[in-house]
């Protein structure tokens, strides 16, 4: 057998160092809809951030925003937001912007 694969893990076991390298699950690619924030309703309480399963909410200082590279569009943040500041909008409405 001729091995052409270049090793991903430096170690014999499958250890990875997050500072150097991570093999990330492309959960963003699973998304069919994304959370869109109405900033006038948001009071920066952080509940969306606490409930987010892949913990992809980014702290923007006065509000939170989903990191779309990881947000899988589950809608839990919108469901939990007590002020209804987050709305799930179908991906189709955003064209190919990502």
């Amino acid at each position: 057998m001729v091995i052409k694969h270049k090793n991903i893990f430096e170690t014999e076991s499958c250890w990875s160092n997050a500072d150097k390298q991570m093999l990330c699950l492309d959960t963003g690619g699973w998304r069919t809809e994304r959370p869109v924030l109405d900033q006038t309703k948001c009071n920066y309480c952080g509940l969306c951030c606490l409930y987010c399963p892949p913990q992809c909410m980014l702290d923007k200082g006065d509000h939170y925003e989903a990191n779309l590279a990881f947000c899988k569009g589950c809608g839990i943040c919108a469901h939990e937001c007590p002020r209804g500041a987050l709305t799930m909008v179908p991906e189709g409405e955003f064209g190919n912007e990502g």
Partner: protein, 400 residues
């Protein structure tokens, strides 16, 4: 031999396992009691209470937790020990796979017992067989002394930097777990010296609080394939390593077991019987009496089951006229027993000789002298080119 001579002591297989584990100085022990393994946990707890075992003993609510704890402790760098049997082994099945996938060098004793479905509180190797594809090293021993010696060797195998795999040391429940035999318990200084080479090896990766690294969490696509490939290659390396450590153990302690397999009177044999565990001891006696009758028969004691000792077996079985394999378990979906099925896969190397499968010793039934005598006689007939029965469930052909 370098080891100090010690006075033999009489103890059960379970007691022997506990002594061996203690001598290897595990730092974390988590184990849930289950028949016929319970005495191992009791004895280790007693060692801890007496202050002779300096380990963190974690009281668990079940085997699933036990394996999770020893796996995690191992990943954090600790030397660990656990023991289980049957229902306990299958109750930790997911964590068993996880431990192997993490390449955590856990040393576990599995006291062979029949598995769930039928409430069998009895001996059989079905538990071990049902976890053969879990990625663990699986080794089977024959008597109480071998239990002690193999547990000590197990640390040299599992924790070796070039291996980094968990190992399951199997011995027959009831037959060995409760059997009291005279054993030599090595001196602590000798066990320390035998395990010392591990300290000179590079440190395996470990979890360190505050450091951004982890194990097993990023096995995506080629990461997964690479991890699996490395795991299989490591298992392949285990085979020669088992032989090497067995030889080294023999040089140090004066006892060795053949490594992957033990060949007994095989060199000039026309036919060979393959057996494992406590049945191998009985088989040796029968081989001797058949030899006295003029029959050239040998025994292969299968010690290493995973990885399967393909090369050593092919070497031992090549040129033999017929082979009989005694299995203490069944292979659901195959007619032949599990070990027989695997030995049949050697046919391209050893030729299309008759390989007869015998299912015996399930549910605490004895694999006794008449049974093994019958196996040898039938294999001898098959060796002459006469028709033979491919699979025989020995107890099913007996009237009781």
């Amino acid at each position: 031999m370098k080891a100090k001579t010690v006075k033999p002591r009489v103890m059960t297989g379970n007691g022997a396992a506990a002594y061996a584990a203690m001598l290897c100085r595990p730092e974390v022990v988590a184990s849930y009691p289950i028949t016929p393994q319970t005495e191992v946990v009791e004895q280790l707890s007693a060692f801890k209470a007496d202050g002779v075992l300096d380990a963190e003993m974690v009281e668990v609510e079940g085997e699933n937790s036990a394996m999770n704890i020893v796996c995690a402790a191992s990943i954090a760098g600790a030397r660990v020990f656990t023991a289980t049997s049957s229902y306990g082994l299958v109750y930790m099945y997911d964590t068993l796979l996880q431990t192997a996938g993490f390449r955590a060098p856990v040393v576990m004793v599995n006291v062979n017992r029949e598995t769930p479905g039928i409430q069998a509180v009895s001996a059989g190797q079905q538990d071990m067989i049902s976890t053969r594809d879990s990625g663990w090293i699986q080794i089977i021993v024959e008597n109480d002394q071998e239990i002690i010696d193999q547990i000590i060797m197990a640390y040299r195998i599992a924790e070796d930097f070039n291996i980094q795999l968990p190992i399951m040391v199997n011995y027959d429940g009831y037959y060995l777990s409760y059997l009291a035999e005279a054993v030599q318990i090595p001196d602590q200084t000798d066990v320390d010296a035998f395990l010392a080479p591990l300290k000179k090896q590079p440190q395996r990766p470990r979890l360190v609080p505050g450091e951004a690294r982890g194990c097993g969490t990023h096995g995506m696509e080629m990461g997964y394939v690479e991890a699996r490939y490395k795991h299989c290659m490591a298992l392949d390396r285990v085979k020669n390593h088992v032989d090497k450590i067995d030889k080294e153990f023999g040089e140090y302690f004066g006892r060795s077991y053949g490594g992957q397999i033990e060949e007994y009177k095989c060199a000039d044999a026309d036919i060979v019987i393959v057996a494992s565990g406590s049945a191998a001891g009985t088989a040796r006696t029968v081989i001797d009496s058949k030899r006295a009758e003029g029959l050239k028969v040998g025994l292969v004691k299968l010690r290493l089951f995973r990885p399967f000792p393909e090369e050593r077996l092919a070497q031992a079985l090549k040129g033999k006229k017929a082979i009989g394999v005694i299995d203490r378990s069944v292979s659901f979906g195959w007619k032949t027993g599990p070990m027989c099925t695997e030995i049949k896969s050697l046919c391209s190397k050893i030729g299309p000789v008759p390989i007869l499968s015998y299912i015996d010793g399930l549910a605490n039934l004895d694999i006794n002298i008449p049974h093994i005598g019958r196996v040898i006689d039938e294999v001898a007939v098959a060796a002459k080119g006469k028709p033979y029965q491919e699979v025989t469930w020995i107890p099913m052909e007996e009237e009781r």
